[in-house]
């Protein structure tokens, strides 16, 4: 095996890009800070039991596992930061009874890439809001997601919104077994009309028709009206459609928006409104999120929760070029005499590079040079 080879879907981020990524991350965290989101830094590894909720097989398969020599328990490399933040809210900050806003930025690791274009080590950046069930919290999180993407100038953003309570409400009302619910969830996710028809063939009306209608209920806000006529008026369905209508009103004219009532985001922890941002040039969504009320119950405290996350690596291709500031060259022979001046310049934010080899301006990345002057040091052009 060639020892320089990296595993598939694992990549280095090289100099110019690494700087772009770090400053984009800093700008995002600053934006979160100004919106009142406190930064947390959960660990890379923790017990599998706390990382993965029981029954979340998708996350379980995605998580690398290793044995802890100290405790003998199984550890997981985090594949998602959201459950960690939920644990923090539920347990460590359990004395807070009001609204808690938390944000984070860090690498996660996946056993398999999410998609063919994804890295197995995404850089997850996200924000979560705990303790308020009202639709205003969902709107706040969606606004934060959109402005985060706006900040890195994602062109022609499209917001796509769905609601998992519609499917869950219908599945419960139709009396589907957990097994049947899972199978229907999987095919609905792919709008696999033929398989849906096979699976719901034996169901009673109005549920059979409702499940057949779901994969067709996507598109502009007018689908919400269509949904009212095609879905039975269960309380869950009514509430979900009301919330979706509120979202349509809130974002009308601000961003291109569409709705998709069979979108379930593949995760089993979402309980209500879900959303994602798409843009031309990306074959998958750029950012995604939604409501996951009571996810903290397994840590001892059930709370309303909503949040979003994105993978910074997805954005690398469009992150603004940061005009790499040209530096000041100082020939090695001027040191240590010039040390004081070099430190003063560096403290002022200048890039000062010691030239050992006598390199060209381009090779060393400098357009100026520090040379002795009559009364100390001076900077002159270097080329």
């Amino acid at each position: 095996m060639r020892n320089w080879l990296l595993p598939e879907y694992i990549a280095d981020i090289l100099p110019a890009t690494a700087r772009q990524v770090e400053s984009a991350k800093a700008a995002m965290l600053e934006q979160f800070r100004c919106a009142g989101y406190e930064l947390v830094l959960p660990p890379l590894i923790e017990y599998v039991d706390s990382l993965i909720a029981e029954g979340d097989t998708a996350l379980d398969l995605k998580t690398f596992k290793l044995d802890d020599q100290l405790s003998g328990h199984q550890l997981g490399l985090r594949a998602d930061i959201t459950p960690q933040v939920a644990r923090i809210d539920a347990h460590l900050l359990g004395h807070r009874t009001g609204v808690t806003r938390l944000c984070y930025a860090g690498s996660v690791v996946h056993t398999r890439p999410n998609g063919l274009m994804s890295s197995r080590q995404p850089m997850q950046v996200g924000a979560e809001l705990y303790g308020y069930a009202g639709i205003e919290a969902d709107i706040e999180i969606i606004e934060l997601m959109l402005s985060t993407l706006d900040q890195v100038k994602v062109p022609q953003l499209r917001l796509d919104v769905g609601h998992t309570a519609i499917f869950r409400g219908l599945a419960t009302a139709a009396g589907l077994s957990p097994q049947a619910t899972r199978e229907l969830f999987a095919v609905l996710q792919n709008k696999d009309a033929a398989s849906i028809a096979e699976q719901v063939a034996g169901l009673a009306e109005p549920y059979r028709s409702a499940f057949l209608a779901l994969p067709e209920l996507y598109g502009p806000a007018s689908v919400l009206e269509k949904a009212r006529t095609r879905l039975p008026s269960l309380p869950e369905v009514e509430l979900a459609l009301m919330q979706l209508t509120a979202i349509a009103r809130a974002f009308e004219g601000r961003v291109a928006i569409s709705f998709d009532l069979s979108e379930l985001r593949g995760t089993h922890y979402h309980t209500g409104l879900i959303f994602a941002a798409y843009a031309p040039g990306w074959a998958v969504e750029l950012a995604r999120g939604g409501r996951y009320d009571n996810v903290g119950r397994r840590f001892g405290r059930a709370r309303p929760a909503t949040g979003f996350s994105l993978d910074l690596r997805d954005l690398i291709q469009i992150l603004p070029e940061r005009g790499s500031a040209m530096g000041v060259r100082v020939a090695n022979r001027h040191l240590p005499a010039a040390q004081g001046e070099v430190e003063r310049l560096r403290a002022a934010g200048e890039v000062v590079i010691i030239d050992y080899l006598g390199e060209s301006a381009e090779a060393i990345g400098c357009n100026r040079e520090l040379i002795p002057a009559a009364d100390g040091w001076q900077i002159v052009p270097f080329n």
């Binding site: 998609g115 063919l116 274009m117 499209r158 796509d160 792919n190 709008k191 696999d192 009309a193 033929a194 398989s195 994969p215 067709e216 996507y218 598109g219 502009p220 569409s258 998709d260 798409y278 843009a279 031309p280 990306w282 074959a283 998958v284 969504e285």
Partner: protein, 213 residues
């Protein structure tokens, strides 16, 4: 906003032509006679890309094509994750079947707890089918001429697509079990359906209205 449709040559292409026509799309060339892989159409913003049938889901999943037409067999083997499959086009119909050499006692060979050697191009479908019957199988993945495997002692049975049964008969094989019905599905890239809704939805509706019974 261009629209790229991934298709494979042969039967799927032939049977897709009427559907394309219903959407007002006419290819500028016939892929059977042209060696081009990108085929323009009568619409400047619609093009067809000609790929191997088993590669269609990959092209669409990557977003290299917005739409594609792929057999259910291909989609099951691929996994279909990240793709919408909104329409069964009811074309390129055939059956996925188990076949054995004439005279082989299949019923006795597949009793629960038995172990069989299966040659197939469709390992996922084969594994799932026999697992559901409680039978262990060793899968031998082949890329063609499946019918040969039982005749030369490479496998006990094959799992393969059967449309007329002609090839089976010519090689002294018999189909002994029906696994699933196969037809071609329209697949759509998930992001494309959201981003190009106005362009894709009319094509989808036109296809739906022209699906053969």
């Amino acid at each position: 906003m261009t629209l790229t449709i991934a298709l494979s040559k042969g039967r799927i292409f032939e049977e897709t032509l009427p559907l394309l026509a219903a959407a007002g799309i006419v290819p500028a060339e016939d892929p059977e006679s042209s060696r081009k892989l990108i085929i323009e159409t009568n619409h400047a913003d619609v093009r067809l890309v000609i790929v191997r049938a088993s590669d269609v889901p990959t092209y669409v999943q990557y977003g290299a094509a917005d739409l594609g037409i792929a057999g259910r067999d291909v989609l099951i083997e691929h996994g279909g994750d990240g793709l919408y499959q909104p329409l069964d086009l009811n074309i390129a119909k055939c059956k996925m079947m188990v076949a054995v050499e004439n005279g082989f006692d299949y019923q006795n060979a597949v009793r629960q707890g038995a172990r069989l050697k299966i040659a197939t191009k469709y390992p996922k479908i084969a594994r799932e089918h026999f697992a559901a019957k409680g039978v262990h199988v060793d899968i031998i993945k082949l890329y063609g001429s499946m019918e040969l495997a039982p005749l030369v002692g490479l496998a006990d049975a094959i799992v393969d697509l059967v449309s007329t049964g002609g090839t089976l008969r010519a090689n002294n094989l018999v189909a002994v079990e029906h696994i699933i019905d196969i037809s071609s599905r329209l697949v759509v890239n998930q992001a494309a359906l959201k981003l190009k809704y106005d362009r894709i939805q009319p094509v989808l509706d036109a296809f739906a209205s022209a699906v053969p019974a």
